[in-house]
């Protein structure tokens, strides 16, 4: 269970990115976080990895208040959370295999374990045959799947996906969300996906949390993007 309790993020410039947000996300849930660009979706996701520290409020993952964690414990928190970044953040001078292996390397796993676990994940995302390719040699969808593979290779409890379908054609975008859904079902990973892709949100009929001006505008089980927008 993830719980946000009256979380506010105010930047030094005075801009309020998140305003008194309270929310609960069940373990193994798949949630779309929707809203127009600049509404605070990315800030919301970055709270969980402690890239952003809220100005007030509390955040729990399970029983743990993650804001109370000392800085040296933050890497261990991040190992429990997989992130698919909006800009992929892949290393262009490393192969797909090496990119996916990064989270395992930092935890000190042996080469043998890394070989086995990375191959397994690459197979799951359908990229095993591209293991020795470099990101620049892949299509947009394949790059996105690489980013997903890296995010889930260490079997995190929570998967955060920040606009994973941006810049993808509708067919490829659906493929990516199918993959996230598969991970959610098979690995019981909690998935929080920030998006403003109307077709995707409406097709998958998941929980939809809509944000507006840093606040939660609506929260609906099996919600629809249009409906959410109308409400607002």
């Amino acid at each position: 269970m993830i719980k946000l309790d009256k979380v506010t993020k105010k930047y030094p410039s005075g801009q309020i990115a998140l305003d008194d947000i309270s929310l609960e996300i069940a373990e193994g849930e798949f949630m779309f976080l929707v809203g127009p660009s600049g509404v605070g979706k990315t800030t919301f996701l970055r709270l969980f990895t402690r890239e952003v520290h809220p100005s007030s409020g509390r955040i729990f993952i399970g029983e743990q208040d993650i804001l109370a964690l000392p800085a040296k414990k933050v890497p261990y928190l991040r190992r429990r959370i997989g992130t698919v970044f909006q800009d992929f953040k892949l290393l262009l001078n490393r192969t797909i295999f090496e990119n996916v292996a990064v989270p395992l390397e930092v935890t000190g796993k042996s080469d043998k374990e890394i070989e086995r676990e990375v191959s397994e994940i690459l197979e799951k995302v359908g990229l095993l045959e591209k293991a020795n390719s470099f990101p620049i040699q892949l299509s947009g969808g394949e790059v996105q799947r690489t980013a997903i593979a890296r995010a889930i290779v260490s079997r995190p409890q929570v998967l955060l996906a920040d606009e994973p379908t941006a810049d993808l054609d509708p067919f490829t975008a659906e493929g990516v969300v199918d993959l996230l859904e598969k991970i959610n079902k098979e690995l019981k990973t909690t998935v929080i996906m920030a998006t403003h892709n109307v077709q995707i949100v409406n097709k998958y009929k998941k929980r939809v949390v809509s944000m507006k001006e840093g606040k939660i505008n609506s929260d609906e089980k099996e919600g629809r993007y249009e409906a959410v927008q109308k409400d607002s």
Partner: protein, 297 residues
């Protein structure tokens, strides 16, 4: 995975990074080698200077010649007076006969000089060695105060000069080597800083997927230590080769002052000492670069 295996993996990774951009590494290594080579040369010069100083200090530094009519009791009184100061290491009486024997020994190849020289021609004397070179003046003052002493010979000026030289060498060495070490330190900060900048994306990604600060910092610290280790080793090796190649001419220059053969342990101590300082310098430089340039969220 064991800690040793993880460290070895980090070490291999660091070597791989060094090989990918060798020019910065070469610049850092050359600076380190130069710094520690110059340090080695100064260490050798300072130790050599000390050996020369010790040799001269061990020689009789004050020789007082007595007038012919000086009674033995007076000579004994002077000897006791010098001994009572506590600064004399050795006071040796040389009688007229002993002086003749020394003269004959020194001039055995010059028969002309030996002709018609008897013990009466040579004065009796005392040879005084002092514990510390700066006490020569004190002892000279004491013996000169006795009217029975006809003449006093002292290499006081030479010792003074030598002490001055070794002090200057030490001071100059410290200033010069400190300057070079500062340059090396700054170059390591610069090189490691550049590497951090070049790998910023990778560092950010590693941090976001759960790498600890020590995991991220370790390759840079290993890099600093490698520069130190290789730099100090190259410097010691060059010093060894330089001394070995010039051993004959150095020994000829020093004459009776025996320096060679140098104990191999000296080079081992020099290498260990320089490695310790150089590794410290490399790791400290890398740490400062990490502190200055590694900003991870």
């Amino acid at each position: 995975m064991t800690k040793r295996r993880a460290d070895m993996k980090q070490f291999k990774k660091t070597v791989k990074i060094l090989r990918r951009s060798p020019y910065q590494a070469i610049a850092a290594l050359l600076t380190m080698s130069l710094t520690f080579f110059v340090s080695s040369v100064f260490v050798v010069l300072i130790i050599g200077g000390q050996v020369v100083l010790n040799y001269i200090e061990q020689r009789p530094q004050v020789i007082a010649f007595f007038k012919d009519e000086t009674p033995n009791s007076k000579i004994t009184e002077i000897i006791n007076k010098v001994k009572s100061t506590g600064v004399a290491k050795e006071v040796k009486f040389v009688s007229k006969d002993e002086a003749l024997a020394i003269y004959r020994e020194r001039n055995k190849d010059e028969p002309l000089l030996l002709q018609s020289v008897s013990a009466d021609f040579l004065p009796a004397s005392i040879d005084i060695s002092v514990i510390q070179a700066q006490d020569v003046q004190k002892v000279t003052g004491i013996v000169k105060s006795y009217p029975d002493v006809e003449k006093v010979i002292t290499p006081e000026d030479l010792v003074k000069q030598l002490v001055k030289w070794t002090t200057t060498l030490r001071l100059g060495g410290i200033i010069f080597v400190s300057t070079l070490m500062s340059i090396s330190f700054l170059i390591i900060i610069m090189v490691v800083g550049m590497r951090i900048a070049l790998r910023r994306d990778e560092i950010n990604i590693m941090s976001l997927v759960g790498a600890t600060r020590s995991y991220i910092a370790k390759p840079f610290l290993i890099e600093g230590a490698i520069y130190g280790l290789i730099g100090a080793s190259v410097a010691t090796f060059l010093t060894y080769v330089l001394l070995l190649a010039n051993a004959r001419s150095i020994q000829d220059f020093l004459g009776p002052i025996q320096i060679f053969p140098i104990d191999p342990l000296f080079f081992v101590y020099l290498w260990v000492g320089e490695c310790a300082v150089a590794v410290f310098l490399g790791v400290a430089g890398a740490s400062l670069a990490l502190y200055r340039y590694l900003r991870i969220k």
